[in-house]
Subunit: 310 residues, 2 copies
């Protein structure tokens, strides 16, 4: 059943949280998730699940929340929503692996409702996305991640992957570094009931994308975690995590939305890496494995590219 | 001589950079500063000086820049400045010590000019400040830092310290943590030629404050660096540096101004700590040395407080 109404959507997100956590614990093989329930100051709450110090995951968080409040400016979109009461629910996930060969990954699937002062719903929409952040990328992995999401999206709305992929590259961009945060994936927002895309279609698209996350990521992690790494690889991962922290703190709208609406700080900032290094003016040696990363951070057309173009 | 005109101010900042770096190298006793000259894309440039891996300083930066460009929105202040051409010069310093007992410190002394389309100067002002960020604070140190700056400021304009101290606490505040970044100091902006405060007075106040930085900080570092520390102390320092990175990336207007005006990213982000740890929901044990820090992060009246009140 495709979740279309608020209660169905919240149920689906909770099931998805359970499903994802079960799969990640199985992959990790050592650590478990701790669960923290919390309440939001203006209504609702959530459950934060954190896995730390595992075989695979240095830290991972899979959070579900369903909260009510008033919209701050940072939500963006349509100006006439500002100051309206809202309902927002979502699942957000960030995984920071131990092994530098295993990419970090993020996904978020959310649903918003806006109300006027009389409590009449004025608007509702789906948003979300998934994106991959390797520090030693392999084209095969990047293509697997994108192809899986492409099949999920285009299977519901042909052409949607291409749009969402472009939006992902645009959103996860560090202007001061002139590079994308990682190798992208899909990103979308404001999926509304509108001419050409009825509510059922939008819900189906969102649902397919959310279910596409695990098959897009798991095979990559399973394969890469077998690789042995040294201190040099770890150091590169810690340096690159600096860029991740820069993006999340300085640019990410989700982080700002959470902090500005008085969300639970410890849950919101779980997206930050467990350990980070900032070095002054670090440049990887030309031709090194580390130097290869730059080629991957320019929002390329992964599904139409070959190894030779690298 | 009090620097009052653009060229005098730039000269003073360069001398101050030299003076501060000489004192810091002497204190460190092992490391030296490397110098990087750079050009700004829209005119001017600067010199970044970095000390790394020393006996005292894990990393420190003392930068001077003098650049021209067009004002972005983030400068704030008066709306009619937006889009105007500007000249900005400043010294900015951030020190991240190795020893967790030595406080991190930041200061910035800057001067702005705004021009209309015909190149006629419309406005000019001084700004700046200095603030201390200990992770194992001692009241005696905090009082020394504040008293030194108080004497510098009030010696020129009586009552200015109290205003600047309050502005510092307000500016260096992390709303999502409900705490100040450190124990404050002074912070001021838009010191203009205005009724009651002529340009000479403002320049003298700014100059006195800039010269107050070293005597405010050096004795603290010299004393605290003698203390022995262990892994637990270092870990607490790395955790607290997470808050420092949160402030600088998510809230600091100086960082935003630099990044939005196309400043040199590597110089701007030198304010970030060299190593950082983020832990989920970390709470120091009640009664521990780490737990004492919270009392110091509420913008207290340091010069009117006694040990007994802790």
């Amino acid at each position: 059943m495709i979740p279309q109404q608020r209660d169905e959507i919240v149920d689906f997100l909770r099931q998805l949280q359970h499903h994802i956590c079960t799969a990640l614990v199985k992959l990790d093989g050592e650590a478990a998730f701790r669960h923290d329930d919390w309440q939001h100051h203006s209504g609702g709450g959530g459950q934060t699940r954190v896995i730390e110090g595992g075989r695979v995951f240095e830290r991972g968080a899979v959070n579900v929340s369903a909260v009510e409040g008033r919209l701050p400016k940072s939500v963006g979109g349509r100006g006439d929503n500002i100051g309206q009461n809202f309902f927002a629910c979502g699942l957000s996930l960030v995984l920071h692996p131990q092994n530098p060969f295993v990419p970090a990954v993020h996904c978020n699937f959310r649903y918003f409702e806006c109300f006027d002062e009389q409590g009449v719903r004025q608007d509702r929409w789906f948003g979300g996305g998934a994106d991959l952040t390797p520090v030693y990328p392999e084209l095969e992995d990047v293509q697997h991640f994108h192809r899986t999401l492409q099949r999920a999206c285009d299977g519901v709305v042909p052409g949607s992957y291409q749009r969402f992929k472009a939006q992902c590259d645009e959103y996860f961009y560090l202007p001061h570094r002139q590079e994308t945060r990682g190798v992208g994936g899909v990103f979308f927002d404001y999926l509304r009931d509108e001419p050409g895309h009825d509510w059922n279609t939008q819900a189906t698209l969102w649902h397919a994308c959310a279910l596409g996350f695990l098959p897009a990521y798991l095979p990559i992690a399973e394969r890469q975690v077998q690789r042995e790494y040294g201190e040099q690889h770890k150091q590169w991962q810690l340096l690159r995590r600096g860029r991740y922290a820069e993006f999340n703190l300085a640019f990410d709208r989700g982080t700002r939305f959470g902090l500005e609406t008085g969300g639970r700080t410890e849950s919101i900032l779980l997206s930050l890496p467990p350990q980070v290094v900032w070095a002054y003016n670090h440049q990887p040696a030309p031709g090194s494995a580390e130097a290869r990363l730059a080629w991957f951070l320019q929002g390329r057309d992964w599904l139409g590219i070959s190894e030779q173009e690298q």
